[in-house]
Amino acid sequence: MHASLRLMTAAAALACLAGTAQAADKIKVGLLTTLSGPGSALGVDIRDGFELAVKHSGGQLGGLPAEVIVADDQMSPDAAKQTADRLLKREKVDFMTGIVFSNIMLAVGQPVFQSKTFYISANAGPSQYAGAQCNPYFFSASYQNDTIDEAAGKVVQARGFKKVALLAPNYPAGRDHLAGFKRFYEGEVVMEDYTQLNQLDYGAELSKLRASGADAVFVFLPGGLGVNFIKQFVGAGLNQEMKLFAPGFSADEDVIRAVGEPMLGIFNTSQWAHDMNNAANKRFVTDFEKEYGRLPTMYASQGYDAARLIDGAVRKAGGKVEDKAALRAALEAAPFESVRGAFKFDVNHYPVQSYYLREVVKDVKGRITNKLVGPVLENHADAYAGECKMPS
């Protein structure tokens, strides 16, 4: 009895040791994202984009069979933390990805990094992880929050608007996004309001907007928040009094589907557009439409790229996901074709990439959708990278 127990322990220890030296037999990814509530369309697109990429590589990531565990964070940091714990400790995932909202990212970040699991962001890009708190286990396959709005600020500035009103939810990303806008916009900010993250009625804010005398308004309101705001903005007749600008999130396909005609003519900024002309993107957009019957959003493109990044990095590391140093070096090299074109990582593991202006138009098929207008910022790095001393 005693001997056999000892034997088994030894065998188990050997098996563990063997695990570190040999390539893993499969890749487990914990995709924790928002699948309920007003932000659910975003999480659904990240999930669908990610799963499409896995399908494109034959159900594998980096040449190993892929298992993607999808979980709902319910847009709640507490629920997200519990689920992340389960994914890390019980499921022992090799990668985590999928979080939409920055407040949830900041709640889940610590346990993920402590367990030395790589987090590949498919959306949330909080400034906290871009600067002094940058982390070797965090990689963004999306953008740093401020940057999308820096592009928007530049556009609003260039178009000669003198008085701008700003609106965003009161949470870390809301502050990042408006800070980014103000970094590149030099005119007067006549109103800057932060609403509660779960607020869906913008009656009071719209009244203030009308009274503010702004000639342009810039709102960062993702998902269902943007849907409600734009409907109510049009319902109040404010679209005749001021020009609406938004980051790509508030004027993407999910919002267009829900709002319809009133979206026409809205300018928005993004690191990606579905009509970008490169081979990877064409394949992605065509197959996404075929698979899901709708056009992909930025979120879907980021989910797709997150999976492509994992795929490329695991392959480059020879499938040895337990060798953290090798895997990190492979991730840093960004060995994949991004659907947004050129893509490389800065020291803080956020992308250095170009940002574009898009406009909501009716396309040749009569669909209301985004059209690429042109680049605004090229090979742009975020404002925090300088503060990051990435541990080696």
Binding site: G37, D72, G203, A204, A211, G235, G237
Partner: protein, 306 residues
């Protein structure tokens, strides 16, 4: 700050307050008369919104949806009362809280199973989707005006029902002294069922009207239920008049908080501090109001029990 902004915000607060009243009216009667804490009240609001949205979507008409949804939710209220809630009247408050909390959880999961966890779309009637010009240079969304009108109409109807009908008299008698009302021969059992159904119907009216403005989604009842409880605590439990005034007060304080507090903080502490502290303070203002009412008038502003 100008006249138009003040006027517009008053309308906004009236709209919000009236919708809160529709929820609080049912809650306060059930609480005041049956001495029953019903945490599932918010679920009836959610179910109402889903039914209105579904029937409106299927029939293509917002109005058919509203009528059908309200009737169906009232029926759901009757079912709920006869099967579960009735058994909880004689239990203590803790059992009631636990029992109705279980209903709340089951309702959420049930809705998730039937309609999925993503919000379902609900369009406002096309004829009300634009702005109307009330005064020269002052436009206001037609749909919000309609909500105000509908809310006032329902409030008036309730007032007439409670003060001018036999059933209303029994309700008032029940609220001020339940045992005595029973002793005088009021059919309390039937009254309770009718009351519960009416409360459910009012929830559906609020859910259906707010659906196009907010979002029809799982869990939409919880956040508004908390506000409804604040309203009835402020107004005085069991009092319809208290519920109306409490709801209008909460609507006013909430809207004013979102408008005035950031301006005030901006003047006192500069824009960046205002951006940090303003929204936080604005969102707790109604709870401060509730605490103040509880401190000075623990029975609420319009206590029913003498």
């Amino acid at each position: 700050m100008n006249g138009i902004l003040v006027l517009e915000q008053l309308l906004n607060s009236l709209q919000f307050g009236l919708m809160l009243f529709l929820l609080a009216a049912g809650l306060t009667l059930v609480f005041g008369i049956m001495d029953m804490i019903n945490l599932a009240h918010g679920s009836l609001y959610m179910i109402g919104a889903y039914l209105v949205a579904t029937i409106a979507g299927a029939s293509g008409s917002f109005w058919i949806g509203l009528a059908g949804g309200v009737a169906a939710t009232a029926l759901a209220g009757v079912l709920l009362e006869c099967t579960v809630v009735r058994r909880l009247y004689r239990r203590d408050h803790l059992s009631q809280v636990l029992g109705t909390f279980a209903i709340l959880l089951m309702a959420n999961e049930g809705v998730r199973m039937i309609w999925g966890s993503q919000p379902i779309p609900m369009a406002m009637p096309a004829e009300l989707s634009g702005p109307v010009e009330l005064l020269p240079g002052f436009t206001y969304p037609a749909y919000r005006l309609f909500i105000i009108g509908a809310g006032l109409a329902v409030a008036l109807l309730l007032y007439v029902l409670v003060t001018r009908t036999r059933m209303g008299m029994q309700v008032r008698a029940g609220a001020s002294n339940r045992e005595m009302a029973q002793a005088m021969g009021a059919d309390v059992r039937r009254l309770f069922t009718a009351l519960f159904a009416a409360g459910a119907g009012l929830c559906a009216v609020a859910g259906g009207l707010l659906g196009p403005l907010l979002a029809v989604q799982v869990g939409m009842g919880e956040s508004i239920l908390i506000l409804a409880f604040v309203v009835i605590v402020i107004g005085g439990i069991g009092s319809i008049r208290g519920a109306l005034l409490g709801a209008l007060l909460v609507g006013l304080v909430d809207t004013a908080g979102r408008t005035v507090v950031p301006i005030l903080f901006g003047m006192l502490m500069g824009p960046s501090a205002a951006a940090t502290a303003g929204p936080a303070v604005a969102s707790i203002l109604i709870y401060v109001l509730m605490a103040a009412v509880l401190f000075w008038k623990p029975q609420g502003l319009f206590p029913v029990h003498g």
